[in-house]
């Protein structure tokens, strides 16, 4: 069975590809380029197309399926028309699937389920990354506030940090919030 994975995010496409590689007798083709998509599709002649839901090429691709392939091998959208739960899970995860009519539902379902799992894994990764970036930004903010205290009050570093922590505890706030207030105040007062 040939599976085309169309995704403009190469990172996500490879995560999906990796996840699907455990399936037996499935050939995976990843397409990340929008240009020449239809020609590639004709060349690959896939049984299943997995595509990120928000992909801007979907209208073009659906038109292609509707017109060029209408007689030969109709393409059904999503998993199985009656299987609402599976479709909702797909949409929630952000994956759209186009499946050649005539493939047994039993063969399609595990593939799409796996794709949904991988899409979810990818968005978890992205959330983790965003969180990590946020943490990094927080640390920078605290460092900056520390430097301001060290400069303005002539404190050594451990003392500056202790002051930040004490203010946070006294006010029931997070250290980063105190740091943010100090940095903002410093900037407002004309500090660099």
């Amino acid at each position: 069975m040939r599976i085309a994975i169309v995704d403009e995010s190469a990172a996500r496409a490879s995560i999906i590809e990796e996840g699907l590689s455990e399936l037996d007798d499935c050939e995976m083709i990843v397409i990340t380029e929008r240009r020449g998509l239809l020609a590639r599709m004709a060349q690959i002649d896939p049984d299943i197309v997995l595509m990120n839901l928000g992909n801007p090429s979907r209208d073009m691709l659906e038109e292609y399926f509707a017109v060029s392939r209408a007689l030969a091998r109709p393409i059904a959208m999503f998993v199985d028309e009656s299987d609402d739960d599976a479709i909702v899970a797909s949409v929630e995860a952000g994956v759209s699937s186009y499946v050649v009519d005539g493939l047994a539902a039993g063969r399609i379902r595990p593939i799409v389920d796996l794709a949904v799992t991988r899409f979810n894994a990818f968005s978890r990764l992205q959330n983790d990354l965003a969180e990590a970036r946020g943490k990094l930004a927080e640390r920078e903010l605290v460092d900056k506030a520390k430097r301001i205290l060290m400069q303005n009050k002539g404190l050594p570093e451990p003392k500056a940090y202790a002051e930040l922590r004490k203010a946070a505890m006294d006010q029931g706030k997070r250290i980063v919030n105190i740091a943010e207030a100090i940095v903002t105040a410093h900037e407002l007062m004309g500090g660099a």
């Binding site: 073009m60 028309e81 759209s96």
Partner: protein, 403 residues
């Protein structure tokens, strides 16, 4: 108590009414809190609507009908209680071809003259084995139907002599540039983007093909409309106020700025302001022209969902999908447009409500006073460029006489 509604849209100027209803507080005044969700393809907008991510959507009218009739995917009944606008699209050709078909006209050409010249080009290209190719934004779009209507009436057979394929609006200019297509039929600001890049010239506005052609609608799943009927009525009132605001010249500059923001169209305020004010720069370095009612968002109860508009779209679906006319399908298509809901929302307001819910499309060639349920209404010219008239009582007869 505030009701929350989520509305899907594509970044096009005619997504303006839900955006402005939200931004100017018209929705809030009606006790609604709107969340607007932007997507890049109609397929995604439709998916979100069908699977409950959104309550309503900015949608190309024929797609609402196609979805109801189960064309291309399992049938799900949609309802369109409000028309988000008429026309606002244009046909843009590569500068080379535009130069050949435009003639000596300084502005937009006469559709008949341009069509006749294009026919010669189309024949030439067909003979050379490189048929002319047009991009439209979707198979089930008024763009596709308007373009095909014009070509056919000018003796150019779509699918046989010229090719028509789908190109997403943001990629239209690029498709012209790469030579993937020779022409596009798309909404603003995407024609102007092609003009700005010097890869296309605007030759016609779709308002020249059908002076009052239906364009986008507010679409909901029928069960959602029933379930949230009260909120939908309030939404219609908010959208109506947004429409009045949108067409007032005093607001053009500001509204263009709002629509241009990254979360909405993420585009040039200048190009958006041009569309709003019916100004078109048809060629790079050329003169700005004013084409009145290029976009038509409010006057003459423009937002009223005339059942005859849905029926015309159905007739074109039959025509171009190679279907045979089906009385049951025609009735289901007609029911997508919901003037009853529009009336219920605006009864007792200052908005005019027509007496009838259906009209003979293309029949009005001079300002005509029409009977109303509320207020007064004068309908201006609403003709097809070829003088043909669509009587919704005889769709089969209409289809027979089309080329």
């Amino acid at each position: 108590m505030t009701t929350q509604l989520t509305i899907g849209f594509l970044p096009l100027v005619d997504a303006c009414l839900p955006i402005l209803a939200h931004e100017h507080g018209f929705a809030e005044d009606e006790g609604l809190s709107l969340t607007l969700v932007k997507d890049l393809s109609w397929a995604t907008v439709l998916d979100r609507l069908l699977y409950g991510h959104s309550d309503a959507a900015h949608m190309i009218a024929p797609l609402a009908i196609a979805t109801t009739l189960g064309r291309g995917r399992p049938a799900q009944p949609l309802a369109a209680p409000f028309v988000l606008g008429l026309n606002g699209n244009a046909i843009t050709l590569t500068p080379d071809i535009a130069g050949r078909v435009r003639g000596d006209e300084p502005g937009l050409g006469d559709p008949r003259v341009v069509g006749a010249a294009l026919r010669a080009v189309a024949r030439e290209r067909l003979a050379a084995g490189r048929p002319l190719t047009f991009g439209v934004v979707h198979r089930y779009s008024s763009h596709n139907y308007m373009l095909r209507y014009w070509l056919a009436a000018c003796g150019i057979r779509a699918d046989e002599e010229v090719e028509i394929r789908t190109v997403a609006p943001p990629f239209c200019a690029e498709a012209l540039e790469l030579g993937d297509v020779d022409g596009i039929c798309v909404g603003e600001p995407w024609n102007s983007v092609a003009v700005e890049r010097g890869v296309g010239e605007i030759v016609l506005s779709t308002a020249q093909i059908w002076r009052r052609g239906v364009e986008k609608v507010l679409a909901l799943r029928e069960p959602v409309l029933e379930e949230k009927r009260d909120a939908v009525l309030r939404l219609i009132r908010a959208l109506c106020r947004a429409a009045a605001h949108f067409v007032d010249p005093v607001n053009w500059e500001h509204n263009a700025q709002v629509l241009a923001r990254p979360e909405y169209l993420d585009g040039s305020p200048e190009l958006i302001r041009r569309a709003i004010s019916d100004q078109l720069l048809i060629a790079r370095g050329g003169k700005m022209i004013h084409y009145p009612d290029f976009m038509f968002q409010y006057r003459e109860a423009a937002n009223f969902p005339w059942v005859s508009q849905a029926e015309w779209l159905y007739s074109q679906m039959v025509r171009w999908d190679g279907l045979s006319y089906d009385r049951e399908d025609a009735a289901r298509a007609a029911r997508v447009f919901r003037p009853d809901v529009y009336r219920a929302a605006l009864l007792g307001t200052g908005e005019p409500l027509p007496g009838a819910s259906s009209k003979v499309e293309g029949s009005i060639s001079a300002p005509t006073v029409v009977g109303t349920q509320q207020g007064s209404m004068v309908l201006e010219t609403n003709t097809f460029f070829d003088g043909s008239v669509f009587d919704p009582h005889d769709i089969e007869g209409y289809l027979r006489q089309l080329p």
